[in-house]
């Protein structure tokens, strides 16, 4: 369904991936986890064809994303849905029109049919009553749910979630977690959830990948990942600051930098 083989990608001088391999089975929920800066969002951009790998291949629904023409890429994207981290709702359209947007763009449905379709999707995310609200009037969690309704309105075969749990209150988070699972099961969607919320994503994922150092360093079911003896994987899964994965960005010697600060002029700089 979705397959990455030997994917390499660099953003300027910084190498993001150096041989990433990943497989997502049809109808499954696959979690892609990893510390910040390991390329999770870059992976989503590769899957949706926003960027192309410098080496290796990304296959989605049987198509080589990197080799597709613009027309082919747009045709493939119609079969995919994506939930953005910030929702990315169109700010000049209300909730109803935001959800209706992809349908109006790609299908010529009679207005009554379109209205029923949008109301059904809004009901699925619990926001049927908010159809007339503007995005500015929504909380972060509500915006994420509207964006989810928009992502599923075209009944995609693959649904990609970019950090769906960030900044949500416990009620909204629990709702979104159950929603991802139920959408996946009810609609037969293949879901890819990029997140570093280990507990939440681990509770619904059928299979998980852990990214670090430009490749998948661990994979398996949530139970398998939690039972692993690899210190780096254990550190991430348990959320510990102690372990082989450095918390601090590389820097000069701490004590020396503090001592050097003594030699600065005493006058306060003004900008």
């Amino acid at each position: 369904m979705v397959e990455a083989r030997g994917v390499c990608y660099s953003a300027g001088p910084r190498e993001i991936f150096n041989g990433l391999d990943l497989t997502v089975e049809r109808g499954s929920i696959t979690a892609v986890m990893g510390p910040s800066g390991t390329g999770k969002t870059t992976l989503l951009r590769l899957l949706t064809g926003q960027i192309r790998p410098s080496a290796g291949s990304v296959q989605v629904l049987g198509e080589d994303v990197g080799a597709l023409s613009r027309r082919g890429l747009f045709a493939l994207r119609r079969r995919m849905g994506m939930l953005f981290q910030n929702g990315a709702l169109l700010t000049d359209l209300n909730v109803f029109e935001n959800v209706a947007f992809p349908v109006r763009e790609h299908a010529r449905l009679p207005e009554p049919v379109l209205r029923r379709l949008v109301l059904m999707k809004l009901e699925a995310v619990g926001l049927r009553g908010a159809e007339q609200l503007m995005p500015q009037e929504l909380s972060g969690g509500m915006a994420r749910r509207v964006a989810l309704a928009r992502a599923i309105v075209m009944d995609p075969e693959v649904l990609i979630y970019d950090e769906p749990f960030v900044g949500l209150d416990p009620v909204s988070m629990g709702f979104i977690v159950r929603l991802i699972r139920s959408l996946n099961d009810a609609l037969g969607i293949t879901s890819i959830v990029v997140s570093h919320d280990v507990q939440e994503v681990g509770s619904i994922a059928d299979y998980s990948y852990l990214l670090a150092g430009g490749r998948a360093v661990a994979q398996g079911t949530t139970a398998q990942l939690q039972a692993t003896q690899d210190p780096a994987v254990r550190q991430f899964m348990q959320g510990s600051s102690e372990g082989p994965v450095a918390f601090h960005y590389p820097a000069a010697d701490y004590a020396q930098q503090l001592l050097d600060a003594r030699d600065l002029p005493a006058a306060r700089s003004s900008k």
Binding site: T48, Q50, F74, A75, R77, R78, M80, M82, F84, N86, A88, L89, L90, T91, D92, F101, P102, E105, H106, R150, M154
Partner: protein, 245 residues
């Protein structure tokens, strides 16, 4: 110099991409009409007010100047020609760049910064067709209409001051204008308004679409819109005035 040429090349390439999606954008008139409203109707008050004030100033200044040559009766012709050929298109374009141009740049720039354009691409919708082209067409159509309204208000303002306050004969004012201002003068104003509308709207959507997706980037893009549009309007005005002589 190389950087300037690269920038011009990038704008031309952007223009070609926008022109390529214009037919598709025209097949959906709804968004275009919305943008005519946004750029045109929402600029109406400031355009009408400025047109009236500029006309009133011309009524005062021209009456005084022409009186020195004993030609107060030429007030209608002088005001009509000045407004239709120069003041109307130029001042409207400068106001348009400041009001509608900055609005277009910041709106599109913020859409870029908040992933709205990326979301469209992922939904297999071309943002150039759905966002840029309707705004480009809206600006292009709104500008000549705004210039016409500016001209009307300007002539009204000149007549208001010139006739009511400075004592120029109303019949002379209108008949002189009717006799001396021709269709070619109106045409010059229309051509200028189309060129200025094209330049201002293109710069505004280009700067918004290519703004860095940060608060500072959108701010810089908005500033560049005003500066580049204003300079271009004045340069194009000189070139067109020379061409119409």
């Amino acid at each position: 110099m190389t950087a300037a040429l690269q920038h011009i090349g990038a704008v031309v390439l952007f223009l070609l991409r926008v022109l390529a999606v214009l037919p598709a954008a025209l097949r959906r008139p709804g968004p275009v009409i919305r943008q005519i409203y946004n750029t045109g109707a929402r600029s109406l008050i400031i355009i009408m007010l400025c047109g009236l004030v500029v006309g009133m100033i011309m009524g005062l200044a021209f009456s005084d100047m022409l009186a020195r040559f004993g030609s107060e009766s030429a007030l209608g012709v002088a005001a009509g020609l000045a407004l239709l050929k120069e003041m109307g298109p130029v001042i409207t374009a400068l106001l348009f760049a400041g009001r509608a141009g900055t609005s277009l740049t910041s709106e599109i720039g913020l859409m870029r910064a908040t992933d709205q354009l990326t979301a469209m691409q992922v939904m297999a919708v071309d943002p150039l067709r759905a966002v840029v082209a309707p705004r480009f067409l809206g600006g292009l159509i709104a500008m000549p209409l705004l210039v016409a309204i500016f001209d009307i208000m300007g002539i009204f303002g000149t007549q208001l001051i010139g006739v009511s306050v400075m004592g120029v004969d109303a019949g002379t004012f209108w008949s002189q204008m009717q006799n001396q201002v021709g269709l070619d003068d109106v045409g010059e104003g229309v051509v200028k308004s189309l060129v200025f509308g094209f330049a201002c709207t293109l710069i505004a959507v280009y700067e918004g679409y290519n703004a860095e997706p940060t608060a500072e980037g959108v701010g810089l893009g908005t500033t560049r819109t005003v500066i580049v549009s204003s300079v271009l309007v004045l340069i194009f005005d000189y070139m067109l005035t020379a061409a119409f002589l």
